[in-house]
């Protein structure tokens, strides 16, 4: 056993650190460090900076303009960027729809969509969940009826992250209502400017506008925007969800949060809180080693499967647990809530600066155990595929 990274991997890590020190856009870094919200333009600038370096296709094969990085390089990329406090990369284009397009799409679709994803010229969003279809996604009802060379789409999607910024949406639609519910689903690519699409904000408990309802009324989608075969959408959807797992443990970001928490707590002289922080640090160490074990298995030709659900469950529990400890550290000042946009949108209050960001994150991070397959669904997966019950 050898826990050390190879010389090449360490050189690669240095290269990442160099970019973070010199090329990570300053205005984005400043806002992230202060816990302020990013604008659409900030996000575009950040992703375009990565494109310029050639790192946007971080998990793509070289063939399509990607980096062709190994699992270890991907791990380091995620960890270093997390530890530097970078915004999480928008997954919808680069790591969700793109692999579906290059795996199941035709040549025309590859040429049309992939380069713009790599250059971040198009902002994608995900049309999966519906008001009546959450964890039971296959029960979705949004309908696409073929009429000539178009599909006519009617229905609605929900929890659509940053749809207000999106240029395109990938949609799971029902093209067949008889037979097994999984078999009547198709995968469509839809321009958000198409008439009949309406985006309505859903404000979450932290006061933020991150997710939306998207309504489709007689939306005409050209048949060439169907990916793969009609009725095979469920297969593509599951394939896509497997790609979503990347970086889900968020070890780097949690380590950064832990270090910040330790600084805050060190001034409080609260031994109960110290103990909880120590437990959290051990949990992060256990999570990191679990990820490294899976990584080592992968690099040795293994196929870790459902075990990676551990990373989702524990990774999100840790992320949430950290925000809870920040709130505890805020003490009485947990009473003051600044609302979305931080204290900038308010009169300057008293109390520690970390309190404002803490509360917003605490509320916002409740989503982590719900999205990406809720933690209960992850437990069902482990139960079925690992424990065999």
């Amino acid at each position: 056993m050898d826990i050390n990274f190879s010389k090449e991997d360490l050189q690669f890590r240095d290269e990442l650190r160099e970019w973070l020190a010199n090329d990570y856009p300053k205005h984005v870094k400043d806002k992230m460090d202060k816990g302020e919200h990013l604008t659409r333009q900030d996000m575009v600038d950040y992703h375009k900076a990565l494109s310029a370096k050639g790192w946007m296709g971080y998990n793509w094969p070289v063939e399509y303009g990607g980096t062709g990085w190994s699992a270890t390089q991907l791990y380091l990329f995620n960890k270093e960027f997390g530890m530097a406090g970078c915004p999480p990369l928008l997954a919808f284009g680069v790591s969700m729809v793109a692999p579906v397009i290059w795996t199941f799409g035709n040549e025309e679709q590859k040429k049309r969509f992939l380069p713009d994803i790599l250059d971040f010229n198009t902002w994608w969003c995900q049309g999966y969940s519906e008001p009546g279809s959450g964890s039971d996604l296959a029960s979705l009802k949004t309908k696409a009826v073929k009429e000539g060379d178009h599909y006519i789409v009617n229905g609605s999607k929900t929890w659509t992250t940053l749809a207000q910024n999106a240029d395109w949406i990938f949609l799971l639609v029902r093209t067949e209502s008889t037979g097994k519910k999984q078999e009547g689903i198709s995968f469509l690519l839809v321009d958000m400017k198409t008439p009949g699409i309406e985006v309505k904000p859903i404000i979450t408990i932290d006061g933020d506008h991150e997710v939306n309802s998207v309504f489709f009324t007689d939306v005409k989608v050209p048949v060439e925007n169907l990916v793969g075969e009609e009725g095979k959408g469920w297969t593509y959807a599951k394939f896509l969800l497997a790609h979503e797992r990347f970086g889900i443990a968020a070890v780097g970001a949690s380590m950064r949060a832990l270090n910040q928490l330790k600084e805050v707590v060190s001034e409080l002289n609260n031994s109960d809180l110290d103990k909880k922080v120590a437990e959290m640090e051990i949990a992060i160490s256990a999570l990191e080693m679990t990820e490294l074990r899976l990584l080592s298995d992968l690099e040795n030709g293994g196929h870790p499967g459902a075990e990676s659900s551990i990373l989702k469950i524990k990774g999100t529990e840790i992320q949430q647990g950290l925000t809870e400890l920040f709130v505890e550290a805020a003490g009485e000042y947990a009473l003051m809530y600044p609302g979305a946009g931080g204290y900038g949108s308010n009169d300057k209050p008293s109390g520690p600066e970390h309190a404002a960001v803490s509360l917003e994150r605490f509320l916002n991070f409740r989503k982590t155990s719900i999205y990406g397959g809720s933690n209960e669904i992850q437990k069902n997966i482990i139960s079925k595929f690992v424990l065999g019950v």
Binding site: I3, K275, S285
Partner: protein, 364 residues
């Protein structure tokens, strides 16, 4: 980076597993536990024959020079089968201290351990100093008489010699005494995990200079290093127990039928078993980290052993309690193996600093 075990390590694990599966079933163990014996002499001889009793010792002392990774493998497998033989007290505690010391007579003593012919124990616990092992009241007077008392001496009853921590000339020291020497007396007790331990008192036991194993910083380091290794070993044992707890529980719930179906069909039980599985995987990860740090003798090795011990102290017991709960009434029956894992977990948490102790040590 490569976190796979070597071929030799995999073979070692298979060898121990084979022994545990074919020669060490729970009912055989129960016979020994209920008899007046403290362990199975035949098993102990077999350990010697297989070379397991020589594993961690340096080649100069007649050992194989195996490190913490191999020891962790052995203890993990022993944990699964709740092995009661006095490996920890002889090989890890007494043996390692001797092996790493400059004590003159060490090779002969270690030979005795390797062949299984003699037992040695480490007397390092005092009633008044819970988990404070470097400040013993036991002392050697100016006229070389040992006085004091030690408790929780593992396998003390069977030991022909003891390594005793004490103060001599104002310095922390480790001395070797004969348990048959004049002035040595003891009582023995069963431990919660079916082993045996003793309480020794020493009244003017004569010590000669040649009996001093080490003193001052050297003695302190020997004890600290040995206890750290022992903490790693029992934690690995706990990891083995946690793996068995979830696996045996999964097996049981698949076989046990209620309401006309296997109880493993019930989601509330499934999720509880998933929690047990996850906790065992996290424990395994912390074990990897700790054993690699000890193996490379890094500065952080104590910290990472503490992280592991704190985790298994808390989640090991939880896992065993969950196993009992999911076995229902069978879980609390003495004749079933599953309930005995809880006793093992309590024993492991109690030894060398419990979860709270190691959590504090970790955050220092």
């Amino acid at each position: 980076m490569n976190l796979s075990y070597t071929e030799e390590q995999v073979m070692l694990r298979e060898q121990i597993q084979k022994f545990c599966e074919t020669e060490y079933d729970f009912y055989k163990r129960e016979e020994v536990v209920k008899s007046d014996k403290d362990f199975d002499e035949n098993a102990w001889s077999l350990f010697a024959e297989q070379g397991w009793l020589s594993m961690p010792f340096s080649e100069e002392s007649g050992g194989f020079g195996f490190g913490p990774i191999e020891l962790s493998i052995l203890f993990e497998e022993f944990g699964k089968s709740l092995v009661i033989e006095p490996y920890l007290s002889n090989v890890v505690l007494a043996g390692s201290i001797l092996d790493k010391s400059n004590f003159e007579g060490k090779v002969q003593l270690i030979e005795g351990i390797c062949s299984g012919s003699s037992h040695l124990s480490l007397a390092y616990v005092e009633a008044a100093h819970s988990y404070e092992y470097l400040k013993p009241d036991t002392n050697v007077s100016e006229d070389n008489k040992l006085n004091g008392a030690k408790t929780l001496v593992l396998n003390g009853k069977n030991a022909s010699k003891l390594i005793v921590s004490c103060v001599k000339n104002d310095e922390f020291s480790l001395v070797l005494i004969d348990t048959a020497a004049e002035g040595v007396s003891f009582n023995t007790f069963k431990t919660i995990d079916e082993k045996t331990c003793a309480e020794f008192s020493f009244e003017n036991v004569s010590i000669e200079d040649k009996d001093i194993i080490a003193s001052g910083d050297e003695a302190k380091n020997l004890l600290i290093e040995t206890l750290n290794l022992a903490t790693l070993c029992v934690s690995a044992e706990a990891v083995g127990c946690m793996i068995s707890c979830y696996q045996k529980t999964v097996q049981y719930t698949k076989e046990r039928e209620q309401f006309d179906q296997p109880i493993s069909n019930f989601q509330v039980l499934q999720h509880r078993m998933v929690d047990m599985f996850i906790d065992s995987e996290l424990a395994k990860s912390l074990l990897y980290k700790a054993m690699l740090e000890v193996d490379s003798d890094s500065e952080d090795k104590f910290k990472h052993v503490s992280a592991l011990k704190a985790h298994v102290g808390k989640f090991g017991k939880l896992s065993a309690q969950n196993a009992i709960q999911l076995h229902g009434g069978m879980g609390v029956s003495e004749e079933m193996m599953i309930g005995h894992y809880l006793k093992k977990m309590v024993a492991i948490d109690a030894m060398f600093g419990n979860a709270d102790f190691h959590l504090k040590a970790f955050s220092k």
